[in-house]
């Protein structure tokens, strides 16, 4: 009897222990889930502005530094060879030899453009000077905040645009540093020439996958892009954060001549976009565009030509509608005010301005070079497919005009997306 009683007591206490342990373990499991919940749901501040990541989405990444090359490995002899063969001007040589900083920090949006910059610009620069080029991801609008002087500059330069330079000129609190005169790009919009280096022209053009439409009845213009009856299928359109180029494309589709685009008729563009709203699929990151095309989610896309070039480089065939009036926009690298390594960034800007460096970048990305000297380094076939090929019908986004109505455009975009 005693044994039985004792055994039963042990069983009961074991069950009670298990019950408490189960509850405790269950709650313990829930605790990290609470912590994970705090981490999981605010993972939203992905650097989605103007190009890659976002998302989105994306995941919350602040500055992620990647080193471009190890200076220690490059032999001094290679550096001398490059200098001799590259035909450096005396001014450039002087700038390059005068660098005392160990590194230079550049903000970028990553993607194919950044890969091309690394290959055409950063690696050769590091080989020539031994200075490390540290590339940093741009989260949100941090670059603009540094350019306008809202926060002190942690980087030396970042991937910007004439619109952002104009905003900084209008509202900035610190004077913008200037690029060396001999390195300024002659094709870049005049007002921003002295503040830009490493620039390129991208073209917003429509594109579709081969086989979507019969060859003899293929879309040829922006009007065709906006005609969902004649060319059925969904259209990929930039999401709420991107406005560049959209209003120009809508107005061109509505029949406005390229010369009459500015000042932008915001209401007319709004109505045109609204007319195909139900067929629009939106992307927040440029990387979604190739997914939409290849998964047949959309029939046609509105995107910068570099995206299509990237797809073609990977072996995916895309029909780019170059017959449509290309909406050109210039992108640049902007030197930030009061940056940590001013001597290095001046030298880098001048180094990148060399015609052969610009030509290599243009070939890698299919973006247009900003100086006529670079065209002389390219073959006619290469020039033919460039966005700013002189023979192409195109219209360049007017940075001043768009900056002047920027608030109105943002408000209109809000209305459109509500």
């Amino acid at each position: 009897m005693d044994d039985l009683d004792r055994r039963r007591e042990q069983e009961l206490s074991r069950r009670a222990l298990l019950r408490r342990a189960g509850l405790g373990a269950g709650s313990l499991i829930v605790l990290p889930s609470v912590l994970a919940a705090c981490g999981g749901s605010d993972d939203g501040t992905s650097s989605s502005a103007a190009a890659s990541s976002a998302a989105p989405a994306t995941a919350a990444e602040t500055a992620a530094a990647t080193t471009a090359a190890t200076a220690a490995e490059t032999a001094a002899s290679t550096a001398a060879e490059t200098a001799a063969a590259g035909g450096e001007s005396a001014e450039l040589k002087a700038l390059l030899d005068a660098i005392t900083s160990k590194k230079v920090i550049v903000g970028s949006y990553g993607g194919g453009t950044e890969e091309a910059r690394k290959k055409a610009w950063w690696d050769p620069f590091t080989e020539r000077t031994g200075v490390e080029v540290v590339v940093v991801d741009i989260p949100g609008v941090l670059g603009d905040d540094m350019l306008t002087g809202k926060i002190p500059s942690e980087w030396d330069a970042f991937h910007g645009s004439p619109q952002e330079t104009q905003t900084a000129l209008d509202t900035g609190t610190k004077p913008l540093p200037e690029v060396p005169v001999f390195a300024q790009e002659d094709l870049f919009p005049e007002d921003y020439r002295k503040y830009s280096w490493g620039s390129f022209f991208l073209a917003y053009v429509p594109a579709f996958m081969p086989g979507t439409y019969p060859d003899d009845a293929a879309p040829k213009s922006w009007a065709d892009f906006f005609d969902t009856k004649k060319f059925p299928g969904k259209r990929a359109w930039p999401g709420k954060s991107y406005i560049e180029g959209t209003r120009e494309a809508a107005l061109l589709a509505d029949g406005v001549a390229p010369e009459d685009l500015y000042p932008i008729d915001v209401a007319r563009a709004h109505a045109k976009i609204e007319s195909i709203w139900d067929d629009l699929v939106f992307y927040d990151e440029y990387s979604q565009i190739s997914t939409f095309l290849t998964t047949k989610t959309v029939a046609m896309t509105f995107a910068p030509n570099g995206i299509y070039a990237g797809m073609q480089r990977k072996g995916v065939d895309v029909n780019v509608v170059w017959d449509a009036v290309a909406v050109l926009n210039a992108n640049n690298m902007s030197i930030l005010p009061e940056s940590p390594n001013p001597d290095a960034i001046q030298a880098l800007a001048a180094f990148v301005a060399q015609p052969d460096r610009q030509a290599e970048f243009a070939v890698l990305t299919n973006y247009g070079p900003p100086s006529t000297a670079a065209f002389s380094k390219l073959t006619p076939e290469q020039i033919a497919i460039l966005p700013n090929n002189p023979d192409r019908v195109s219209v360049t986004v007017d940075a001043k005009a768009t900056a002047a109505v920027y608030d109105e455009l943002v408000a209109d975009n809000e209305k459109l997306f509500s």
């Binding site: 919940a37 605010d42 993972d43 809000e414």
Partner: protein, 299 residues
């Protein structure tokens, strides 16, 4: 009839210990010198990672005058009921599926239990972005779901779910499932099979047993899981942003957009604080009504 012990000993017995243990509240509570220092890490954690960022948000709102902007913004005002509705629907659905899953975990044979647990923790430990992208690939017009339906001959025209309002719901329930399953499972494990056996012996049908015996005992777990899912869904960013309609943004999407627009950081900060305020209010109300904090305390 209540039996009273002789004398006033119960009263005096209670009064005496309290009078005796005045010195060192912490000492008596934690039973020893120096253990108060154990409070320092969590307080520092709380201070630097919670109080300071919220302080920054408040400063940002006040300095940049975002509050009026936020409240006056029509898109923001429209997004609030939408977000509430979404959170409510997701909570109810997650609760339903989560309870079923948790009960399955309890009653399944061992091999199935292992499979179910593995599946659950795979959901839990896979990156949120990867899960969301998986759902995107599923519901694309010509995505995986279409491929299956088309292959079975059930559908010809491409699907039209992607970037439409109902799209985020399945994905969000999928993401939130572990947060309901785990508390409910913890409660379900403490179910006494004797109760169920007794009910059956007394002649109850299975559904009645479920209603009157099982669910009331699961209630604390269900409530804490549902509240957790509701509060998390209110602030959920990635999944509704990537899967939902562009014209039906949730509050979190709007906050994200405004933070990425130049010169609107104050508005975004104000919206974040308003969202935080709503979440705190919801939790306090839930605590009052459902006694949620007791559930945490018990474990």
């Amino acid at each position: 009839m209540r039996v009273r012990p002789a004398g006033r000993s119960p009263v005096s017995a209670e009064a005496a210990p309290r009078a005796r243990s005045r010195p060192g509240l912490a000492r008596s509570a934690l039973g020893g010198s120096g253990t108060t220092w154990l409070l320092v890490p969590p307080l520092v954690f709380l201070g630097t990672l919670l109080v300071v960022p919220i302080g920054f948000l408040i400063w940002e709102t006040v300095v940049r005058g975002g509050f009026m902007d936020a409240v006056g913004n029509e898109t923001f005002r429209n997004s609030i009921p939408r977000t509430f509705l979404m959170a409510l629907i997701v909570s109810v659905l997650a609760l339903l599926f989560g309870t079923i899953y948790a009960l399955a975990l309890v009653i399944a044979p061992t091999w199935m239990k292992v499979v179910l647990f593995f599946a659950l923790f795979t959901i839990f430990w896979t990156s949120l972005l990867v899960r969301t992208y998986g759902w995107i690939l599923l519901i694309l017009p010509q995505g995986a779901l279409y491929w299956a339906l088309h292959g079975l001959g059930l559908r010809d025209a491409p699907l039209d779910i992607y970037q439409k309002p109902p799209a985020p719901y399945p994905a969000m329930v999928h993401v939130m499932l572990p947060y309901v399953v785990l508390p409910v499972y913890a409660a379900a494990r403490s179910l006494d099979p004797m109760h169920i056996r007794a009910a059956r012996v007394l002649g109850a049908k299975p559904f009645l047993i479920l209603r009157k015996v099982v669910l009331p005992q699961l209630r604390p777990g269900m409530v804490s899981g549902a509240i957790l899912v509701f509060v998390m869904s209110l602030g959920f960013y990635v999944t509704p942003q990537l899967l939902g309609a562009a014209r039906s943004p949730m509050v979190a999407s709007l906050i994200g957009t405004y933070f990425n627009t130049p010169n609107r950081a104050g508005t975004a900060a104000a919206m974040s604080l308003l969202l935080l305020l709503v979440v705190v209010i919801v939790y306090l109300v839930a605590d009052r009504v459902f006694k949620v904090s007791e559930q945490w305390g018990r474990g």
